[in-house]
Amino acid sequence: MSNIIEVKNLSKSYGKQTVLDDISFAYEPGQTIGLLGPNGCGKTTLIKIMTGLINDYSGTVLIDGHKPDIHTKAMIAYLPEKTYLADWMRPVDTIRYFSDFYADFDTAKAKEMLIAFDLPEKQKIKSMSKGMQEKLQLLLVMCRNARLYVLDEPLGGVDPAARAFILDVIMKNRPGDSTMFISTHLIYDVERIFDTALMIGRGKILVNAGVNELRRDGKTIEDKFKEVFGYAWQVN
């Protein structure tokens, strides 16, 4: 089976600061991969390269065998950390927008989910709370029948009850054969859904292994994370 994500010798610097330092990894389709690391370790940079938001890097990044381009953008459903919708838009406008540009967008499902999420379809985004805006973005992303979902800190800044709701929405709405690439530093809440954990720190890959392997000695992924990053910070 060909890899859905393939990264070879990827490096990225901002001036003199190296954020990603010659990292390589590859994943076959169908997995849920947790991209784990503390704040500022390069998770968002890696995601922005994969989604085509950053183009000046060295190394190779292939999504389904293609460099980030129109083909890969059509197959990736991306949820960024930020609110990326124009404030004049209403949920009904955002649904039209997504259905115009993404062939895999399910408009009927989106309208159903608007009701389920209790989001008024004609309320302007600028008058919505941050929580409502985040729910709307999640809805738009999860109403795509994408091959690869890239979610950047989907649980960042939300309360524990909302985290459970968000995870539930993600897992219920993803197509069975799709791949999930989720970055987070809130491991405890998410680790139950991971198949693979990719831990990065100081620009390097510190762990890239299946969760069953990591849990073999009875520890949780969060324990492993603390172990790895405690050690990594000490030696660096």
Partner: protein
């Protein structure tokens, strides 16, 4: 996809510019009513307000073009724009086309309001507008109607090119300011880049237009008495008659194309969306 991009670009930009046109329409109605019922102080006030609004329409439209381009590509909305399954050239093309239409519309409305107010007010105060037009045409003493038509076409093409160049300069400046080399400096770098490019373009265009001996001049012997192409005299050599330099216009076409191409390349290869 280009058609869809244009459709959504119109929807997005309309929110920023339509209010000023609405204000102009309301002021026109007030002005016409006040002249009809002969309330002189309201007539005077609304006429001045209309002239100010017409200039503001151009200014607000240009500000909306700048703000819209920055917000939708390099602000948080850039996360959506740059992850759409479209080419960066299509993204740029849709924005440029819609910006061009809005700015052209603002020019037409501004000029239209000035001309309309002039004729309307002249007629209301009892001036002979037909005589005024005849006096205006005497400036081009002896020039045929055909040549005047050709000159109008030349000036319309020049204005269209100036709008295209202005958009290209704005887009290029904002995009270059959002590459890694300039991002640290912030928004002020876009202003400096813009004025640098703008001044340079103005100087080169003026020099080429004035000194290069490729011009359109009035030839009364040509069929119907129209404009003819000359390669022997520049505008500076013959400053009094009808003599229009062409190389500045050609330079503007090439420069606008080069700026758009470079902007597209930077968007594709060098942008770090913050």
């Amino acid at each position: 996809m280009l058609g869809k991009l244009i459709k959504h670009e119109f929807k997005a930009s309309a929110h920023s510019v339509l209010n000023i046109y609405l204000a102009a329409a309301i002021t026109i109605v007030i002005m016409l009513l006040s002249y009809a019922v002969k309330i002189r102080w309201i007539s005077a006030l609304s006429t001045v307000a209309l002239l100010i609004i017409s200039v503001l329409a151009v200014v607000i439209t240009i500000i909306a073009v700048i703000a819209g381009f920055y917000k939708t590509l390099y602000g948080s909305q850039g996360y959506l724009s740059f992850t759409l399954p479209v080419k960066s050239g299509q993204l740029l093309g849709a924005k440029a086309l819609v910006s061009f239409i809005w700015i052209l519309l603002s020019y037409i409305i501004c000029i239209g309001i000035f001309v309309g107010v002039y004729f309307y007010v002249s007629a209301k105060v009892g001036e002979n507008t037909v005589e005024n037009i005849k006096m205006l045409l005497q400036v081009f003493g002896g020039v045929s109607t055909k040549a005047i038509g050709q000159m109008i076409i030349f000036f319309v093409v020049s204005i269209i090119m100036q709008i295209a160049v202005l958009i290209a300069e704005i887009y290029f400046s904002i995009t270059l300011a959002n590459t890694r080399a300039f991002q640290k400096i912030g928004a002020v770098s876009a202003i400096f880049i813009f004025f640098g490019v703008f001044v340079l373009m103005q100087i080169v265009t003026a020099v080429l237009t004035t000194y290069v001996p490729v011009t359109l001049y009035y030839d009364p012997l040509a069929a119907g008495g129209g404009l003819a192409l000359s390669f022997s005299q520049s505008m500076i050599q013959n400053p009094t008659g009808v003599n229009l330099g062409l190389t500045g216009l050609v330079f503007e076409i090439i420069a606008a194309a080069a700026l758009f191409f470079t902007t597209g390349w930077l968007m594709k290869n060098k942008i770090n969306v913050k």
